[in-house]
Amino acid sequence: MSNLYALNIEQVANGIKNREFTCEEYVSQIIERIKKVDKKINSFITINDDALVQAQQIDKKIRSGLTVGSLAGIVVGVKDNISTAGLKTTCASKMLSDYVPPYDATVIKRLKDEGAIIIGKLNLDEFAMGSTTEWSSYGLTRNPWNLDYVCGGSSGGSAASVAAQLCTASLGSDTGGSVRCPSSFCSVVGFKPTYGLVSRYGLVSYSNSLEQIGPIGRTVSDVKKIMEVISGKDTNDNTTIDTKNNINNNHYDLEQKNNQKIGLLKELINGADEPVYQCIYSAIDKFNELGFTSEEPSLKSSEYALASYYTIATAEASSNLARFDNIRYGFELNPDDYEWNTYFSKARGNFGDEVKRRIIVGSFVLSSGYYGKYYLKAQRVKDLIKHELKNLFKEYDLLLSPTVPVLPFKIGEKIDDPLKMYLIDINTVLANLAGIPAISIPIGFKNGLPIGLQIMANEFQEKKLLDIAGVLEKSININTSYPDL
């Protein structure tokens, strides 16, 4: 069988279990395709040499009639800021160019326990700070739909590799939109869970009170399957929550509910470029056809969301990245004869520009005299946003917006203006600040460039969100094409 790399999770899982093809065949094809295609887009940093052997082991287990997991043999790519034991984890930074973790992140362990095969580590903006993957010290990742354009970020490699069919699904991390933005730019499905639903143990922290690991796939169903495996309370992460509202519970019955209402956030749709908002309105029409009523409510506090986000995120980042002093792990630099302040400062000079800027801004907003004006204020705004969204969810089942207010843009276009770059996140940061689940699904193209729709639900309403998103996905039905690479 050929083109096994184009199949979705269910098709691969069943195909392998039913012996229509072997896992080895499937994985070999993917490895071949990576060799052929990835030099065009540069989505991978490291490939797992052991993948084929693991594939053979899955085949062996199946032949012997042993039970295998729900994701047995499925090829998953992992953003390179998630710890994988024995496999280099660089965060796309010179600071960690030699670092090989001695432990697996909880999400990795859970995937492996279900038989998934980690195919390799995917490119990102350094330490997850960026919106285009142009800040990677391993070179940028190109948009598979048009190689002159950015693929989004910071989980650029995760989205591009799935779009280019170099892996069946991938994991990214989303602090301010880092899973949803590249998913929108690459025409794939990307999901950010409710804060506390997925363990962050093993995720190299950028902004711990805002980020979550999230899956990226070509369909909502694939994303849901990954979520079923990785989500759930973890004793290794004190911020994970026990919830009865998890993915596996009672199927959310669309038919039963009447008077379903969606809200397209007014400020966010008004901030979008024309090709984007036109596409969004077409999607709203589809929702109406499905029986939803729609309105355009206002979210007043959204005006301050980006300022709040960048205050909190840079503050936490400045502290989280302090541990990178190259003493215990990092890269080659002999400490002999260096005075310790000098050594630290010199080693840390190897951070990229964007990381350095954010650390400095973060130190500033926490510093004596400014803490109240910036950090404390930002926390109050965060609370306010959460409060206002909660109130909206009393009236609306789902809240919508364009994932990104603009179309994907050319490589290098915004790189010289950090603030312009930050504005890409303006729609996505809301869900991180409020801790609510949000998904981006592809809804169309303009001039060959993808557009994504963001759908948000109240916290722990994963089930509802994914099920409705799945229904919409079917009715829009655009994912029949793949980038020609």
Binding site: Y99, S205, T239, S319, I327, R328, P335, F344, L366, G372
Partner: protein, 479 residues
């Protein structure tokens, strides 16, 4: 203004390791890092590996609550952890997870408490108690200043106790610290005998002038010396109109002076903010956390229930080991006054000073409550005299032999009875009890041994055998 009229203000910052925990504050590595091979007591969390997350130890919080209660502190409904951000090679994350009260909020584990100490029940106010983690250990390579770091200790739970600057006399500081040691020991949260388990920094100002911090003081007796020296230094400077700088000074034990610590570049800005990885902790059902008997309660009990003197009681509770020894000894032989005296006047003399300046029963001392109970009884029964008892104690401490065994081996230890009058009384008594044997002995000289044996039994082996035999024969003739 004369120097003697300048008011002295001393405040203390005590760091107490919660040595009685099994694990560290945020991970499940061993709390007891001493004697472990270098860098063998580590995990991703305490080594600060990327992606690791702190997991709070329930028992550590409970211990901290017990300390708060014992020091009469107010305990908040919610307790919160914060990050103190600074760089140092012994700090795996280059921040310390601690507790910090800011902007009018008060979320450390305890505040506004007080402790009574000393003969006159002076009161020291406690400003704040907080939970935090210990850094790793930095040693220097072979005379050069190259850092060698051992992370075995990194992440061990500490409780920091901050007092108000209520102290005016270094002697009081010493007494207070002894009281604190006793409280912590009685709570069974810290084994203060372990090296480095209890550390104290002080800050001192005179005449409401600038505050000087004194760090790096090894023992509590050194703190008294350091403070005494510092008061003199500051008073001298003031009299000569020299400005006292706000600074940190270290205690130089060799030269017995305080000296300026290497100056930091500038005042450190710690950029405190709440730790996002640890949720706020709701402290409920605090009444379920019971504190063990505190020193003051125990002392009260010793005085009232056992009739001990104030002084003896104080000595016992100042050294928890001795108080424990006392209570188990009186269970065996209930003579509180004599047992306590034996402990306080004799055992104490054999105890060594540990690193904190406190006397301690070391592992080498093989004496236990059984030994002491026996000694007390033997002396009370007049089986041995006091000087014999003292020499026995010294031997017991080395060998662990029971006093009764020692006496059996060394006959001459017992108080020999050679008083003829007493011996004759014993002989007559035996004659009454053993009429048949007595008659036998008159005929048969060998039967004398039987009677002699009886007399020895009666006198607990103390009758002088030679004299007794002579008297025995004499008496037999008379009967």
């Amino acid at each position: 203004m004369t120097s003697s009229s300048l008011p002295v203000k001393i405040g203390l910052e005590i760091h107490c390791q919660l040595t009685q925990l099994n694990t560290k504050l945020f991970c499940s590595c061993y709390c007891n890092y001493r004697e472990k091979e270098i860098n063998s007591n580590i995990c991703p969390i305490c080594l600060g590996l990327p992606g690791s997350l702190p997991i709070l130890n329930k028992k550590a919080v409970e211990f901290a609550i017990m300390i708060s209660k014992a020091l009469d502190c107010k305990i908040p409904e919610l307790t919160v952890f914060s990050r103190k951000n600074y760089f140092y090679p012994d700090l795996p994350k280059n921040f310390q997870i601690t507790q910090y009260d800011s902007y009018g909020t008060s979320t450390s584990i305890g505040k506004e408490g007080s402790v009574k100490y000393g003969e006159n029940n002076k009161i020291a106010r406690i400003r704040r108690i907080q939970l935090e983690e210990d850094p790793g250990r930095l040693v220097y390579e072979n005379g050069r200043m190259q850092a060698l770091i051992d992370y075995n200790r990194a992440g061990v739970a500490l409780v920091e106790i901050v007092t108000e600057p209520d102290f005016t006399d270094p002697k009081d500081v010493r007494t207070f610290l002894n009281k604190m040691t006793s409280i912590l020991e009685h709570l069974n949260v810290c084994n203060t005998n372990l090296e480095g388990s209890l550390r104290c920094d002080a800050n001192i100002s005179i005449g409401n002038g600038k505050k000087v911090e004194i760090k790096n003081v090894g023992s509590f007796s050194d703190i008294e010396k350091a403070l005494t020296y510092e008061i003199t230094r500051q008073k001298t400077m003031t009299v000569h109109d020299i400005e006292i700088k706000a600074e940190t000074r270290h205690w130089d034990d060799k030269r017995k002076i305080t000296k300026q610590a290497r100056s930091k570049e500038e005042e450190e800005d710690y950029r405190y903010f709440p730790e996002p990885d640890i949720p706020k902790v709701l402290l409920e059902n605090l009444s379920l956390i019971k504190t063990p008997e505190l020193p003051d309660e125990r002392k009260f009990r010793f005085i009232n229930d056992y009739g001990l003197s104030e002084h003896v009681s104080q000595v016992l509770i100042d050294n928890k080991d001795l108080a424990d020894l006392f209570e188990s000894a009186i269970k065996i032989y209930h003579s509180p006054k004599s047992i306590s005296n034996w402990i306080v006047s004799d055992i104490l003399a054999f105890m060594e000073y540990d690193s904190s300046g406190k006397k301690t029963i070391t592992d080498e001392m093989k004496i236990n409550s059984k030994h002491i109970a026996e000694i007390a009884k033997l002396v009370d029964d007049n089986t041995i005299n006091r000087s014999t008892a003292k020499s026995i104690i010294s031997r017991i401490i080395k060998t662990g032999e029971l006093p009764s065994d020692i006496i059996k081996k060394e006959k001459q230890m017992t108080t020999i009875i050679n008083d003829e009058k007493i011996l004759l009384e014993s002989i007559d008594r035996i004659f009454k009890e053993e009429k048949k044997a007595t008659l036998d002995a008159k005929q048969n000289p060998t039967a004398i041994n039987f009677l002699l044996g009886k007399i020895m039994r009666l006198t607990k082996g103390r009758a002088d055998p030679k004299i007794t035999t002579i008297l025995l024969k004499k008496r037999l003739d008379e009967v």
